[in-house]
């Protein structure tokens, strides 16, 4: 099977498993993004059909929520907090360092496909600002040095 067919099977499996829940669209989109890292625009018609929604409605939901993405992310997505508490502890400088180090801006992915960088507005780690999240791992009191160390730990071969 080709990758595209694989994805379609996966999307259909997730959709049919969840479609009877009340308010099923968000759980379905989460299921798809958890499985393949993003919500491929190609799968919108299938989801719409399964839920008796228009394609516009499904697209509208995907584009409304910051968390859902329609392009493949890097192997790791770095969520950098830029809310007030982190700003009070130097997140602006950390943000500048991260962008410079990775050579990308927010919402971009490094050319080697390793890292995506996304802003986030609060991780609830405000007592240990500035904070970031990579995958499910949360980091506190992040400095430029500890940022570099966290990245180095994630790519041991580099």
């Amino acid at each position: 099977m080709t990758a595209a067919v694989n994805t379609q099977v996966l999307v259909n499996d997730i959709t049919s498993a969840l479609k009877d829940k009340p308010g099923a669209l968000l759980p379905i989109l989460h299921g798809i993004q958890d499985a393949i890292g993003y919500v491929p625009p190609d799968c919108v018609p299938d989801i719409a059909k399964a839920l008796s929604l228009s394609r516009a409605e499904v697209h509208g939901v995907i584009s409304f929520y910051h968390y859902f993405r329609t392009t493949q992310p890097g192997q790791q997505t770095i969520h950098l907090c830029r809310a007030e508490s982190c700003q009070a502890m130097g997140s602006d400088a950390l943000e500048a360092h991260a962008k410079q180090k990775l050579g990308i801006d927010f919402h971009e992915t490094t050319a080697d496909g390793k890292f995506s960088l996304e802003p986030v507005y609060c991780l609830g780690n405000c007592a240990c600002s500035p904070a970031m999240q990579i995958g499910n791992d949360i980091y506190g009191r992040v400095s430029p040095d500890s940022f570099d160390a966290a990245l180095a730990e994630l790519e041991p071969s580099a």
């Binding site: 809310a83 009070a88 609830g124």
Partner: protein
């Protein structure tokens, strides 16, 4: 005898290395042939001491912190398992002034117990509130909550009992309980601590709410940024079902309550209750017009209680000890306790649960110990990104809903973000407008367009272009946002913007005295 060692698995403690410390302690004990019982507990919320390791001794739980994995061998050398002295010794944790001075009702168990261990929960007064509730009439449960004086801890401070009473008295085949766990305000983490550190208390509170108003289905709308809380909640819910605390015929009472966690997707606006319900229904999180009130026509058009995590987690102790017990704490119309969260540039950041009435200054200096940087505190934002900035001259305000409202500030969810004198308040005002623009749902014009215009105007002011006229324009725009927005996002963004302008005009390049909004 096997010695019990506690290492928190609260995500903030983990963000500082608690998992590595736990692993190192286990490995070191094994290597030395010592049998220990390592328990992962919640955090007491003294984050400058995290990872905080505790050892159970005859004298009590003795603490060491902040511990890094590299400290573990020396802790064993110092015989910490018998409470031996070490450079990181803190003594008996319960006796630490930061903790001892607090009045912990909602957070009574957090830090002491293993969060997802139901037996531990039951051994620490868990499910006593539900046991009482099951023996009461629905009206009496609602009355106990009303009598307690509990007001919505999410920020709006609406009396919880009145909300419940409306749902109880609205006839419908299906009703819902929603827990708003979309804790998006910067500087707040008390909801997260409850969900990670004592998930059963939230489940118990929601179950009581369901029984009180006749709702058989509950949803916890959890923000996707909280993966650790998600795991803790799902684990605890599964155990509660297995033990007959959720599902059909709860504890043989014939009552039914089902509970499910639903994830948000990174939209701040979904913390607004009507937008949250749209999201739960699988739609874009557009704010609804009110009326109808959610209590009459809420989720899927059915009567719905929407309460914040802390509100619902305060219900079990109210039903256990009675409304009067809870009501005896606090001042004026702010009854009970508020879990305050000290964040940002503060030396002793963490959670402080206290009866209403302490002043902000006491919180900042007696508990917080001043700024982390050691520089003077210039401004404090209380109540999240939609809360006003308070200058030093307002630090003597008591932490009370009405006292805060009287001077155009917001107590909200109790988040306190501290800034030292290096902060540029014009930049913060610009950020508030930017945040509103990013997070606006787009339904109403003042918020959708006004936030972007506000961002542009702030840019002009910061660049020194035509400052006097642009400040006038900014005030005019804020007036439109305040009075013309559909919900609090647009309606309250002027709070941080105008408070920054009024109290710190120099940062905006003007010398005029404060002008009230």
């Amino acid at each position: 005898m096997t010695i019990t060692v506690y290492v928190p698995n609260d995500s903030s403690a983990v963000s500082l290395g608690a998992d590595r410390v736990a692993k190192a302690i286990t490995a070191e004990a094994e290597q030395r042939g010592i049998s220990i019982n390592l328990v992962r507990n919640g955090s007491f919320g003294m984050y400058w001491l995290e990872p905080l390791v505790e050892v159970v001794t005859a004298q009590g739980r003795i603490g060491y912190g902040p511990v890094q994995a590299s400290d573990v061998a020396s802790l064993f050398d110092a015989n910490f398992l018998q409470g031996g002295m070490h450079a990181l010794s803190l003594g008996i944790v319960e006796e630490l002034p930061y903790l001892k001075k607090q009045q912990r009702l909602t957070f009574a168990r957090i830090g002491k117990t293993s969060p997802t261990n139901l037996n531990d929960y039951l051994a620490h007064e868990g499910y006593r509130g539900l046991a009482n509730a099951l023996a009461m009439s629905q009206g009496d449960i609602v009355k106990a909550v009303t009598d307690s004086g509990l007001r919505g801890r999410g920020g709006a401070a609406f009396p919880t009992g009145i909300k419940w009473n409306t749902v109880l008295n609205t006839e419908a085949e299906q009703k819902y309980i929603i827990c708003n766990a979309d804790e998006g305000d910067s500087g707040t983490f008390s909801d997260r601590m409850v969900m990670e550190g004592d998930p059963f208390v939230l489940i118990e509170g929601m179950t009581i709410a369901g029984i009180a108003v006749g709702a058989s289905q509950g949803y916890i709308y959890l923000r996707v940024e909280y993966p650790h809380a998600h795991i803790a909640l799902d684990t605890a819910i599964t155990k509660a079902y297995q033990a007959g605390y959720l599902g059909e015929d709860i504890q043989g009472s014939g009552k039914t309550f089902h509970l499910e966690v639903r994830l948000g997707a990174g939209a701040y606006i979904c913390g607004e209750e009507t937008s949250l319900m749209e999201s739960l229904e699988g739609k874009r999180g557009l704010v609804r017009f009110k009326p109808p009130l959610p209590a009459i026509s809420g989720l899927f058009g059915k009567p719905t209680v929407v309460n914040n995590v802390i509100s619902l987690a305060s219900v079990p102790i109210i039903l256990d000890k009675g409304g009067d017990h809870y009501r005896d704490f606090g001042m004026g119309r702010s009854r009970g306790t508020l879990p305050l969260q000290l964040a940002g540039n503060i030396k002793h950041a963490g959670l402080v649960e206290l009866a209403f009435g302490l002043t902000l200054r006491e919180l900042l200096y007696d508990f917080g110990g001043g700024s982390a940087s050691g520089r003077p505190i210039k401004a404090v934002q209380v109540g999240g990104p939609l809360g006003a900035y308070l200058p030093e001259s307002q630090f003597d305000t008591p932490l009370d809903y009405e006292a805060f409202a009287a001077q155009w500030t917001v107590l909200g969810h109790g988040g306190v973000v501290v800034f030292d004198d290096t902060v540029d308040m014009a930049k913060m005002a610009k950020y508030s407008m930017e945040f509103c623009a990013i997070e606006s749902c787009g339904k109403c014009t003042p918020c959708r367009i006004g936030s972007t215009r506000g961002y542009e105007v702030m840019d002009e002011i910061i660049n020194g272009h035509n400052v006097d006229n642009n400040v006038k324009l900014l005030r005019d725009l804020c007036n439109t946002l305040l009075n013309g927005s559909l919900c609090a996002l647009g309606g309250m963004t002027p709070y941080p913007v105008l408070s920054a302008l009024n109290h710190f005009p120099k940062d905006f390049g003007i010398d005029e005295p404060a002008q009230v909004a």
